[in-house]
């Protein structure tokens, strides 16, 4: 297992901001929806939008990338979630997780772990889970 993180300005993220998850044009595992559901459960005001949409109505953009490998079925090998300032397009925080084929992770679990790293686990406890 390997994990990578980037944290330039995490203090600017809180639940008062308006978040947009930018859906990938091709999203094999429907990861965008998983991120949306997980962020909503943490109390964020968040929408799932396409890249072309006008982002003026949002404060923070959430992008993601995923790599899958097929072995009878598709397994999630890598997932990254990156958070940007919508006004400046600066990368604020990012986190990535890689798994070898033999240590697989579900997309829900991987998403939860990365969002924990990005927003902190206290955000999750606020949602009452």
């Amino acid at each position: 297992m390997l994990d990578t993180g980037y944290s330039r300005s995490p203090q600017s993220l809180d639940a008062s901001k308006r978040y947009a998850v930018i859906r990938l044009p091709e999203d094999h595992g429907d990861i965008g929806q998983v991120i949306l559901d997980e962020m909503m459960s943490r109390g964020f005001i968040v929408s799932l939008v396409d890249e072309a949409i006008d982002t003026e109505n949002f404060d923070v953009l959430v992008r993601y990338e995923a790599v899958w490998r097929r072995e009878f079925t598709w397994y999630l090998l890598a997932l990254s979630i990156s958070v940007y300032d919508a006004r400046t397009d600066a990368l604020l925080v990012a986190s990535a997780q890689y798994r070898s084929f033999y240590v697989q992770s579900s997309k829900e679990r991987a998403t939860r772990l990365l969002l924990n790293e990005i927003f902190g686990e206290q955000q999750q406890s606020q949602s009452g889970e």
Binding site: E26, I31, E71, S82, Y98, R99
Partner: protein
């Protein structure tokens, strides 16, 4: 007469569950053989700029990289940019930047993109913008084409921007 015999009782038939097990085993073996060394990957990732093969990149081409470059490893300067660790090399004037990292199982392109976005953000904060981007591609041992780094041409001194994040040697 055996309950597995055919209706006419001329020859014994194979029980259905044995047939099923045989089919599953056959499919397993065929799948293992066909996928050996050639796995199927799906990379839902963005690749920035044009592609260049890693073997076509050295310390003199496409840019002359005089700082932190050797032809066998390419970028060798260690960088820690807000927790993101990678290697970099620069041209003498800092206008050409090579950022690279070691391959990681499954996540090589994902990591390269994170490095690109981190460097882009740091350059922009110092009002240095990227003029051209080239993705350095190689083939992962399992058969997938992956991006291991990016070559950037910028309109300022990228070395000066990233210098505070270089690990002391």
């Amino acid at each position: 007469m055996s309950k597995f015999a055919d209706p006419a009782g001329l020859r014994p038939t194979t029980p259905r569950h044995i047939k099923t097990i045989r089919s599953v085993l056959l499919l397993t073996v065929l799948s293992a053989i066909s996928s050996c060394g050639n796995y199927l990957y799906r990379q839902d990732v963005q690749i920035y700029g044009d592609l260049i093969k890693k073997k076509e990149v050295d310390c003199t081409s496409p840019y002359l990289l005089t700082r932190g470059c050797n032809d066998s490893e390419l970028a060798v300067m260690n960088v820690d940019l807000h927790g993101l660790e990678f290697n970099a090399a620069f041209s003498d004037d800092g206008a050409a930047i090579l950022v690279m990292h070691e391959m990681v199982s499954g996540g090589t392109t994902v990591l390269a993109n994170m490095i690109f976005e981190g460097v882009r953000t740091e350059l922009a904060a110092q009002e240095v913008s990227i003029q051209t981007v080239t993705a350095i591609q190689t083939r992962y041992y399992e058969g997938a084409d992956v991006v291991v780094g990016y070559l950037l041409k910028v309109n300022g001194d990228g070395y000066a921007v990233l210098k505070p994040y270089l690990a002391e040697s």
